[in-house]
């Protein structure tokens, strides 16, 4: 006997079990006295609650036009319009976020490969600056390492590479937004238009309600 059994018995009492579950519970009830006892207790407490007298309402709860907090029900289209307007607004904000974050992402991408371009020219340049020391101290065969003058053009290559990068395809991705402004405009327009229609319908209903029930 565990809580799951109590749950089953409670649902059995309310006729909320499937036919197969009902058969299983009834089979167990036939041979387990504890289950019978719990079922009888559950039934008794349910009967007590059901026997509790229903009080009459202490006064009339009908709504009166004088009630300060009385407001007209919104038109049936209002919830759908409001939901659509909020959804369009959220999508519009999402497009702003996507377009705002995309240049950051591309600039990271653009910044990351720079060392790769630089490795072609930068690393030898560093090697070139280090070379004279190491070459002269550790390696007697220093003449075999290229002379600084021979590697010197590397910085030029690096600056050339850096100059050419912005003119490549990356420059285009950095400036063109991922989501076209036309779509953003449509979403912003929808959000505003749906919101205005919802507000107008609600105001018209409120006006009509006041004229009929409050001012008359």
């Amino acid at each position: 006997m565990n809580f799951h059994d109590v749950e089953l018995l409670s649902a059995y009492l309310d006729g909320q079990l499937s036919p197969s579950e009902t058969t299983r519970v009834e089979a167990r009830l036939g041979r387990e006295r504890v289950l019978q006892s719990v079922l009888s207790d559950l039934r008794a407490s349910r009967s007590l609650l059901r026997a509790l007298p229903q009080r009459k309402a202490p006064h009339d709860f009908r709504l009166r036009p004088q009630m300060k907090r009385l407001a007209a029900p919104a038109p049936s289209a209002f919830p759908a319009l409001r939901f659509a307007s909020v959804l369009a607004s959220l999508l519009f904000l999402a497009t702003l976020a996507v377009n705002g974050l995309t240049p950051l992402a591309t600039s990271h991408l653009a910044a990351a490969p720079a060392p790769a371009y630089g490795m072609g020219g930068g690393a030898p340049a560093e090697a070139a600056t280090a070379a004279p020391g190491t070459g002269s101290q550790a390696l007697p065969a220093a003449p075999s390492t290229p002379a600084p003058e021979q590697i010197a053009p590397a910085p030029d290559l690096q600056t050339q590479a850096q100059k050419t990068v912005p003119q490549g395809p990356r420059a285009a991705t950095r400036t063109a937004p991922l989501i076209p402004p036309l779509w953003q405009g449509i979403l912003a327009g929808l959000a505003v238009a749906l919101g205005v229609v919802a507000w107008y319908l609600r105001s018209a209903r409120t006006r009509e309600f006041r004229q009929r029930w409050i001012h008359n």
Partner: protein, 202 residues
């Protein structure tokens, strides 16, 4: 006129149509609020608030059981009332008579067909049940009030308290189990037909 037609008219702002629906359900809503809150005045406030909110939010009713939908509004009103009471705790209010003195039971409760003895027994029983209900955690109390006192089926209770069906089953079983334990302490007060068995359930 049938209820669906009245609701349809009320959704278009017809206050008279809504008030006819109010008359049908006001006793049920008041009783649900009373059993959840355990206080007549608070229950009356919650019931009025629930009907105002229901009228305002009628556009949100998309068919199904209107009683279950109304029970959701009264449940929300009760939760709001309990939150307010938690912020500003006050002594529980006893119903008052014409002269302002506290009375055991409100006038509208007295059933002229019952003898004074029977009335006293009925009152004791009601107090015992209310005491046990108030000892239940709020979420259990709400479910048992909706299912056993208001007679909603599980699907309707799920609508009224906005929790899945499985949770309703589990909460209802736990609530009944706890009520059974609590009511056993009032064994002698209970009518013989309802006296609970004292057997262990291990």
């Amino acid at each position: 006129m049938d209820e669906n037609a009245l609701i349809g008219r009320a959704q278009h702002g017809d206050l008279d149509a809504f008030n006819q629906v109010v008359l049908t359900h006001q006793d049920a809503l008041f009783n649900a609020a009373l059993r959840i809150l355990g206080d007549d005045e608070l229950a009356a406030d919650a019931t009025q608030e629930a009907f105002l909110a229901a009228f305002r939010g009628l556009a949100g009713f998309r068919g199904g059981s209107f009683k279950a939908w109304l029970m959701r509004t009264v449940t929300n009103a009760c939760y709001d009332e309990l939150r307010r009471r938690k912020r500003r705790p006050t002594a529980p209010l006893e119903p008052e008579g014409r002269e302002g003195e506290d009375v055991e039971s409100p006038m509208w409760l007295a059933d002229p067909e019952l003898s004074p003895e029977q009335q006293a027994e009925a009152q004791e029983l009601e107090h015992a049940i209310q005491h046990c209900l108030e000892n239940l955690p709020l979420e259990f109390r709400t479910v048992v009030v909706m299912a056993d006192l208001q007679g909603l089926d599980y699907a309707e209770v799920a609508v009224a308290v906005r929790v899945p069906l499985g949770t309703i089953k589990s909460r209802l079983a736990r609530a009944r189990l706890r009520l059974r334990e609590c009511l056993q302490d009032f064994g002698e007060l209970l009518p013989a037909a309802f006296r609970l068995q004292q057997e262990p359930t291990s």
